[in-house]
Symmetry: C2
Subunit: 337 residues, 2 copies
């Protein structure tokens, strides 16, 4: 099953974990300094070794992916919007069936290996990505400096080239008004925190993405350990905030069940309202207040109410008006089945 429809560890607070490694080819211009022919050569090169890397990866050029599928991948945070929109002619991905491995070719760097998992699972992800990295490096020589480590297009990634990120759901801290305080602390511990579609985007449905700032002068294992410690602190704080909320149980029950009642009964609903209501519904399910749902259904609701994945689910191309109507239908289907 796809990782994003599975349940993971600490999934009441942690939605998903992700690690990516930025790598570039030795003696080759960075993507932003390359002519089209050079990038095309890289694509061919990688296409040829795809089978050798293993993991049942499939090589697909961006231009061979239809727009809806691209949007679906963006909504699942498997590829970046920038990559999908701007690198169409020169970009490609290597992806497996479960979609827990996706290597972007010719994004900001020549190679960006990414691995994903549901819940908090950074150690396993690190083992997996190191394995993949080792496999790749035996077929393509990386740009590496003894002094700096792996060389990358953007200096912030030089060194390990590693960015770990964890998506967390913080409705308790948001409602208690303490979310900014916690986020500030996270920031002081060398972590970035931002909206769920990456830098500069808004927070939706009380979801936040935490990632490491530093990638140089520190070992991969240390980055992951630091992140784990921070995330565990956040989990603790969020759970405490939820306990406080639950003390005024009738108010909380009322809020989460009203959200559930609207989702189950509306006949049309926008993506934005849906995200807001699902945040309450997830909170209610995680706290055992909403008995009519389980975590996996909430995962499905979260995925298949997003604009592109909704169309994939219903197998229909829909404009905004019809999406709002179909979204209400899909919610009912998922809850009742």
């Amino acid at each position: 099953m796809n990782w994003y429809l599975q349940n993971g560890k600490e999934s009441d607070v942690v939605i998903s974990s992700r690690i990516r490694l930025a790598r570039n080819l030795k003696n080759t211009n960075f993507v932003n300094n390359s002519k089209k022919e050079g990038l095309e050569k890289i694509l061919k090169n990688i296409e040829n070794i795809t089978e050798n890397i293993g993991y049942n990866l499939k090589f697909i050029r961006l231009k061979d992916i239809d727009d809806l599928t691209k949007m679906c991948l963006i909504e699942k945070h498997i590829i970046s919007p920038d990559f999908a929109l701007n690198n169409i002619d020169v970009g490609a991905i290597l992806i497996n069936e479960d979609e827990n491995i996706c290597i972007m070719i010719n994004e900001e760097d020549h190679i960006r290996i990414q691995v994903f998992s549901s819940g908090l699972d950074l150690e396993h992800l690190l083992d997996l990505i190191n394995e993949i990295d080792l496999a790749m490096s035996s077929f393509v020589p990386y740009a590496f400096s003894e002094k700096y480590g792996y060389l990358t297009a953007c200096p912030t990634n030089v060194g390990t080239g590693l960015r770990a990120s964890v998506m967390v759901h913080l409705p308790g801290l948001t409602q208690s008004g303490n979310v900014n305080k916690v986020l500030e602390i996270v920031n002081n511990f060398g972590m970035n925190i931002r909206g769920i579609y990456g830098e500069g985007t808004d927070t939706k449905g009380d979801l936040y993405q935490i990632s490491n700032k530093q990638s140089i002068g520190i070992h991969e294992k240390e980055i992951i350990n630091n992140m784990k410690v921070i995330v565990e602190k956040i989990i603790e704080q969020e759970r405490t905030a939820r306990k406080m909320l639950a003390k005024n149980s009738i108010n909380l029950e009322d809020k989460v069940y009203r959200a559930y009642g609207i989702l189950l009964n509306c006949r049309k609903i926008s993506s934005e309202e849906c995200e807001k209501l699902l945040s309450y519904v997830k909170l209610g399910t995680d706290l055992g207040i909403i008995k009519e749902l389980n975590d996996l259904k909430v995962k499905k609701l979260e995925l298949y109410t997003k604009p592109a994945n909704l169309q994939r689910y219903t197998n229909k191309i829909l404009d905004g008006f019809d999406r709002d109507i179909q979204r209400a239908e899909v919610i009912k289907n998922i809850i009742n089945n």
Copy 2:
């Protein structure tokens, strides 16, 4: 069964009909001009003849009715708030089991005979009230002038002493923005229109009360016929407005089902919000959109979510905070049973 829990004619628009006759005793000071002893004499007089009037009427003094029961009667529009609050020592009612007959003694007039029915049923009510009036008049001589008709404490009631009123539900006209135009026309036809708790009160849940202005120089039958014609016009207009609303069916369905979803899932709800949502739910049920409910359940919901009747239904004395919680419980019970 009590009339207010039954279904009547044209009940998609007309909630209930009511007629009252104002009568005063011959050669007796009006209530506002009487000493307590005089009013006490009237009470005794009426108490003695109660059985003779028939209809299984029971004579009950206001001071023997507990506050909750009084509030329940007010919420059902069977007695006026003024009467219940200000005439405690000298007031009484004659009421039957079904509560479709209630005669107020020593309200503004010595005798106010009232009859009620669900839906639009003015002709039957006129027959019934004339029968009761005839029975009473054979035991108590009325103040009557050949020139003016029945004499009453307030000049606006002199003549027939008759006021007919009909409570209508006008969500279609309210939403189409035409309700004021229609109400103006009603006014020009010699009818009053006002909020559901009588003069000077606000409109709640799109409910309006229509009553005749004129009671002198016109025969009772004519008053009733005029009112019937006007109400039938309003019914027509309201149904047309609803058809227009239903053309944009997804919007209407969405609104009524969201209201239904909140009512069924909330864990606390105020009286005001409940009235607003029930207005949508009644509209949805009347238009056949909401299949999960029927008219009788909507009647029950409307009655037992009112503050006093809620406490009667649950058999508990509740403060405002607990009422909001119990109201949510009662709604679930009524819908699911």
